[in-house]
Every structure is written in structure tokens, then in C-alpha cells.
């Protein structure tokens, strides 16, 4: 031991400690740089010029007011779906259901096309529809969890599929545009979010997203209810001892998260020019993956509303700039390669959070393993007897 034989494990531990000990923002920054480096390496190996490609990415993401607006527009729904995940993590659960809740929320928002109302009020009605629909879509998994102990991971994934096909059905058969079968009814002008920067997708829906993020921050850290939710998430046994009704906090956080995801759907249906409609024909392309990307945004933002706002700007930029990469220069990067690079960046960003989660996951696995083995042994013993 005088020589210290286990040097490399110490190095690893040191690196781990430094990475996780850094200030959260710094940590995400380091991860982003690592991700970009890996992406650069991949592009280099396949014979593309990483400098040019990243320059294109940067220009495409934040090169001017037009680019900024596009990036923010793409980040807007991600803020909301990230909140869905983050609220439930704070309450001690993994809610994977933002994907389905967003789709259902978008369909509910499209329903405003079925009736007329004054400008402004029409918009608000649409938002309420979407939020309520999203929340309702999370009720069943929440109730199953609370009453029967059904894992919310499984049930929300199932509900994602149910939600997706239900939304498709609605888009193709029920609220379909009679003139153009590939898309839904168009949201009327009275219920549209005004466009903030002419010629871009950036609409006033970003205010809704930022507002909800601030509201969630306030709810979780400055109200009694938020205190209860966080306590129950961190130590359910102590929370029960402290008179907190855990079932209630679970349901509340699920409903809040569902409402946020529903609103994400509304921002797409009511704030996305030029169509202001959802394309059922293409299999809901605008809505697909919003929920899953939101989980990545939440992890990078460390499940904190303010962190999520920053992470959403970054992810929006990646999305917007990624499109530019494929048109840039003499040897542009193909779309597939861009996806690979994005994947590398997202993975690198998620790794610090995964490192933190890893011991818990490992412990769970070990426990399961031991219990199973013991069962098997007792059973074989019983068999012998």
C-alpha cells in the first residue's frame, strides 16, 4: 500500500469526484465540450471536416437574430416536456409519459378549430384544453401507481403508445381537414400564438413555456405543497412520518407534469407556422420525440426549472443548427452523421446524471439478484425435501 497499487482507480475516483463536485452549470459545460469532441472525432474518421461542420452548426444555431429565433422556437416545447420529467423526478418517480401526453394535448388544442371565440380568449381556451387533456392522460398511470403499486415507468411507456395511436386516429378520422386528409383542421387565427420574429417559427408560445418553468420553480421551492413533494421524493418514509400524504404528492406531480406536456402539444398546434395544424399523414412528425428529447433536456438541466431553460436553448440550437450542417460547404455532413453527432453530445451530457444514478441502479439490481437466487435455492431445497 505504500506504493499504492490501485492508482488508476484513484484517478477515476478523482475524476468522478471532480466532475460531480463541480458547479452544476460547469459540469454540464464540460460534458457538452466532451460530447462535441467525440462528435468531431467521429466526423473526422468518416472524412468530414469537423471545423467546418461545427462552424455551420454554430452559425445555424446562434449566428444571428433569425437563427436565434429558430433555436428558441425549437427549444420551446422541450422546456415543457422537460418540466414533466423533472417534476416527477423531484417527487421520486420516473415519468416517461411526456411523449403521449404531448400528442393528446396537441389534439385537444386542435379542437379549438371546432368553434369560434374572440381572439385571445380562443387561445386561452385552447391552452386549457391541452393542459387538461395532458393531465388526464397521466391520471391512469398515476392512479395505478398509487393504488396498485404499478411501476410508472412501464405504465407511462404503454400510455405513450396508446396516446400516439389515439392521436393518429383522431388526426386522420375525427378532426381531420376535409380538404386535405393528411392533416388536421387548421387552428383559426383567433387562437394562434402571434409570431415574434417575422419569417421564423418563434411565437409567443415561448412566454408560456418560460412562465410555466418559473411557476414550477416557485411551486417546488417556495410553497408548502412543493416542500411536501420534494420531501416525499427524497425520503418517502420520513415524509410519511412528517404527516405528508405521499399518494397525494405523487398524484399532484403527475398531474402538473401532464399539464406541462399537454401545453407542449398546444405550442406545436397553435404556435407553429405556417400550417397551424398537425400532420397525421406523416405520423405526427412535429410531435414525435418531443417527450424523449425533453428527458434529455431535463437531465442536462439537472431537473431544475432554471437549468432546463438554459438546456433548452442549447438543445434548440442543436436542432436548428443541425439542419444547416447538411447544406454547408463542398463536403456537407449527411443528415445521418448529424444524428450520430447529436447522439454523442446528448449522451455525454447525460453521463454525469447517469453516474449519479448508477449506484442506485446497481444496488437495485443486486438486491433483485440476491432475492431471486434465494428463492430459487429455497425452492430447490423444498424440491429435495
Amino acid at each position: 500500500m505504500t506504493e499504492n497499487p490501485v492508482r488508476e482507480s484513484r484517478l477515476l475516483r478523482g475524476v468522478h469526484r471532480t466532475v460531480t463536485g463541480l458547479h452544476p452549470a460547469l459540469e454540464s459545460l464540460v460534458a457538452a465540450i466532451v460530447g462535441l469532441l467525440i462528435g468531431a472525432l467521429l466526423m473526422y474518421i468518416w472524412g468530414f471536416d469537423p471545423w467546418k461542420a461545427y462552424w455551420a452548426l454554430l452559425r445555424g444555431a446562434y449566428g444571428g437574430s433569425y437563427e436565434w429565433a429558430s433555436s428558441l422556437a425549437r427549444g420551446t416545447p422541450l422546456i415543457l416536456t422537460a418540466l414533466t420529467f423533472a417534476i416527477c423526478v423531484r417527487a421520486g418517480m420516473f415519468n416517461i409519459g411526456a411523449e403521449g401526453q404531448t400528442m393528446i394535448g396537441a389534439m385537444a388544442a386542435v379542437c379549438v378549430a371546432l368553434f369560434a371565440a374572440p381572439t385571445g380568449l380562443h387561445l386561452v381556451i385552447g391552452l386549457v384544453f391541452a393542459a387538461v387533456a395532458g393531465a388526464l392522460w397521466s391520471v391512469v398511470p398515476a392512479v395505478l401507481r398509487v393504488t396498485r403499486g404499478v411501476s410508472e415507468v412501464i405504465s407511462t411507456i404503454m400510455f405513450n403508445w396508446i396516446g400516439r395511436w389515439l392521436a393518429l386516429y383522431l388526426a386522420i378520422y375525427v378532426i381531420v381537414d376535409p380538404m386535405r386528409a393528411e392533416k388536421t383542421l387548421t387552428v383559426p387565427v383567433t387562437a394562434r400564438f402571434p409570431i415574434l420574429v417575422r419569417g421564423t417559427d418563434l411565437s409567443a408560445s415561448i412566454f408560456v413555456a418560460v412562465g410555466v418553468a418559473l411557476l414550477v420553480y416557485f411551486l417546488l421551492w417556495h410553497t408548502t405543497m412543493g416542500y411536501e413533494v420534494r420531501a416525499a421524493g427524497l425520503n418517502p418514509t420520513a415524509a410519511r412520518y412528517g404527516g405528508i400524504r405521499n399518494k397525494r404528492t405523487m398524484i399532484i406531480s403527475f398531474l402538473l407534469g401532464g399539464a406541462a406536456a399537454g401545453l407542449a402539444g398546444a405550442t406545436m398546434a397553435m404556435g407553429l407556422p405556417p400550417s397551424y395544424a398537425i400532420f397525421g399523414g406523416g405520423g405526427l412528425p412535429e410531435l414525435t420525440n418531443l417527450g424523449f428529447d425533453g428527458m434529455a433536456v431535463a437531465m442536462v438541466g439537472r431537473n431544475h426549472p432554471i437549468g432546463i431553460l438554459m438546456a433548452a436553448v442549447f438543445f434548440g440550437g442543436l436542432n436548428a443548427g443541425g439542419r444547416v450542417m447538411q447544406f454547408y460547404g463542398s463536403n456537407p455532413v449527411p443528415l445521418e452523421m448529424i444524428r450520430v453527432v447529436m447522439g454523442a453530445i446528448v449522451l455525454a451530457l447525460a453521463i454525469p446524471e447517469l453516474i449519479r444514478l448508477f449506484p442506485a441502479i446497481k444496488r437495485q439490481g443486486e438486491r433483485l439478484f440476491a432475492v431471486l437466487r434465494r428463492r430459487r435455492e429455497t425452492r430447490s431445497k423444498e424440491g429435495e425435501a
Binding site: T224, Y241, A370
Partner: protein
Amino acid sequence: MNENAGPGARQNADGYFLRAEGITKIYSDGTVALKEATLEIHPREIIGLLGENGAGKTTLTKILSGLLPPSHGRVVSPRGPVRFANPREALDFGIGMVHQHFALVGTFTATENVALSHEKPFSRIRLAKTRERLEALMEESGLRVPLDVPVEKLAVGEQQRVEILKVLSRDVQLLILDEPTSVLTPLEVDELFALLRKLKEKGTSVILITHKLKEVQSITDRIIVLRHGEMVGDVRTAEATAERLAQLMVGKTLDGAPTAVELSAEQLPRVLSATRKKGSSGEGILHVIDLVARGNTGELAVNGVTFDVHGGEIFGIAGVEGNGQSELVECLTGLRVPVAGTATIRGKNILGKDPRQIYRLGVAHVPEDRWRLGLVLPFTLAENAILGVHRWKEFQGPFGILRRGKVNQHVRELMNRFDIQATGPNAPAKSLSGGNQQKLIVGRELAKDPAIVVASQPTRGLDIGAARYIRDLLIEMRDNGRAILLVSADLDEVLALADRLAIMYEGQFMTLCRPDSLNREQIGMLMGGVACKEVA
């Protein structure tokens, strides 16, 4: 006051096993937990580590066992400086530590838990080997535990034995025990000490942290005293008087003649009862009739218990841990639903109610497991200080806002009143020393101004001064007509405080009497389940 050069220097200068040189520990929030601590550990000695809550005892031992790196200073062995990156490296070197809070996996058996500290823990060979080793060890050390039962089903004393076996299975040269006795009954303490003596004869050194002077004096060879992170004393046990130690710890003489409860357990009941007003039996507050409850594994943990607690009395429940006390308390505080029986507080049924409703009936509960139940560790001190009272009117603003200002004010009052040492209301509860965490919980509960306090091991891990303060406070509350249900494995404490005493064994009360009507042998027999009719 610095006596570092004392006995260490007198012994053979090169004969040490390990030496800590100028160890300083500064935590990331700037807390200086240790200042230039220097000590030498020799083979074949038992060292007592004394100090008030937050003095740095746990920090020092964590550094020695590789769990924390020191900020400055180094650890040296006769062969040169050593650095441990993690506890496993320290174990390989021969240093093992049993922590204040156990680190066992509840669903694992003892064998599996021990195997975990080895490479490839779950291979069949490893498990078989571990089992063999454990059986030999149990034979040798006399520490008996069931090897094939998940440890969560074991009593706390047994779990501790698993922890010790885990460390011993690695052939350690230095065994560090952080407050091992606070959860043990006197009999278990005797067993533990017998083992320590045996280990010492075989050449192992032991560092023992405890707040009980009686224990330190009975078993250690040398006593090291820490105060606010500084080593203020290193004295031979034979030369140390209780007064001297107490003085070293606090830096001044403790006032008042009857010093710590631990010093004079035999005459203590008399000392205290002289100062207490006669336990006036007020109105009955808690009535329990024929309570039956199942434990976590479905066994009958509480098997027909009947008693009542009046205002103005302290009702003590003693017994070896794991005889149904925890389950009984959980039934009374809304954490467990009993199978049969009735329990009322001031005539209102409490069985099956949730902890919120029970709190509203005027019940405060100091839980026995401060990490699982009492605290939300990642929360701040302030957030923990309002757990359970967070819905108090004075904390509520408009729109359900939690009024931070009022909360912090309440917390500062608690910190002053109960001498909770921390950097401030926003310090994470994790960063508090074990004793200060306990003070936080006790303070929070007693500040509820309850009609009845259900206190499990309320002074566990508290230093002498703090423990005395809490005991005095319990007596004061009793004198003000409150009812107190005191459950403790610390027999001295129960005997000193209780007006009436029940001894619990296998889910039943062996006896229910006045504490002074029994002598210690009789109590010991009752706790072991041997009924002696004449005393009942």
C-alpha cells in the same frame, strides 16, 4: 492543555502501527472539522475517543479508514506514508471501521453482506468461502448471528454484530467503532467489550468512540479528547478521572455535583428523584388495551400489550431491542396498523390514523432511526426543522407560500435553544454531526408543545451535556403535566427518568412496576425473558 507528547512518546518510539501527523480537515463549505490532529496508534491497545457533539471524532476516524481524504497532513505507517483512496484500500491495509449508521443492505443475508466487501461477491465459491470463514469467526469471537436471514429482520444489536464480523473477516489490525454502544443494552455492551479484550490480546488495536465515560474508563488503555477539532488531551485511562475528562472535553468544569448519568448509574435514581417533584399522576392521556401488531416479516411483534400513560409521568419501556418496542411505537404514531386492540389519546381512537391526524391530537414522536425516519438528509437544516410542522399557520403566506423568513426565525431559535452546531439554517442536514442531527430532531419534536411525547432513544449519540439537557427538559415537561412515553435500550436512562417501568420481551410486558422496586439483576433477568414472580 496540549498533552499530545504524553504516553505515545513514552512507549517504544518505532512500535506504532499507524501515525496520523498534523491532520487537518476542511469540508467544502469551509467548516474546519479537524485542526492539526496528531496521534499514534500502537498494536494491542484500546483507544477511547471522546469529545462533544461535532468535535470531529467521526471525521478523524473516517480519514483513518479511507472514507475521506485529509485536507492537510498525512497518515504514516512504519514503512512509510500511506494514502487510502477508499475504504477497501484501508481494509486491505488492515483498518476497518463500523459506522455510526450501519451500511448493510437490508434484503441481503449476513453472508451476502459480508461477501459484498470482497471482489466478485456473488459467485458461488465466494459465498461458500465467506460462509465458512464466518462460521469459524463466530466460533472464535463468540459473536453469533443467523447467517441466512435477511439482515433487515435482525435486531439492531445483531446487525451491529454483522458489521463487526464484516470487518473482522478481513483480519484487521485496527478496528474503529463509531458509537457502537448507543444502541446496545448493558448485557450486549458487556459482550462487545469482552470481544474487544479478546481482540486486543490477539494484537489488534481498537479505537472506540462513545459518549459514556463509564464505558471509556472500563475498557480503554488510553483516552484521546477532541474539542472543536483540536486534540486537547491524550491521557492514560488509569490516570484519568471523570472530572478531568469532562473538563478536557468542554474546556471548563461541569457545574453541579452529580455529573453525568453514566458515572453513577447505581445511585442515580436516588439523586434524580430527590430533585424531581413526586411523579404526580394526572389525567390519563394514552390508553392502550390488548394491542397486537405484526412486524415487517409477519411475525407477531406486539402480542397483547395493555398500559396507560398519565399526564405528569414518564412511562419507561426497557428491553433488548427487537422485542416489539419499535412496532409498538409505530402503532401509536400512525406508522403501522395493528392487528387488534385499542389505543386512545384523550378518549380519541388513534389506531389506523395517519401521522398527521395523530400529530393534531398532540403527539410528538422522536423516532429511533434518525436517518430513515427522522430526517430528509439532502434537505437543509431549516427544511428538516419544520418537517411535520410545515403546515403551521405562522409559516403560511398567501397562495400557499412557505414563509422562509418565519421558518428561519424558528430554526434559529431551535439552534440556540438546543445548541445545534451548523454553519446556518441552510446547511444540508447531511453535513451535521450525528449528535447535532439528533439534537435537531429532538428539538423539533419538543418544540411542538405536545400533550404526549413518544421518545425512542431520545439521547442516542448526544454528548453528556446535551443528553443531560434533554433529560432535564423531559422532566420539566413531565412536571408541567405532559405525558412521556420513553423507550430506550439505555437502561441507566430509563431507570433514572421513568416513574413507571415496563420491561418488554417478545412482544409482551414482563412486568409493569416502579423502577426502584427492582434491582439490576432482576431487570436483567426480565429483559432476558425469565419471569420472577415475586417482583411483579
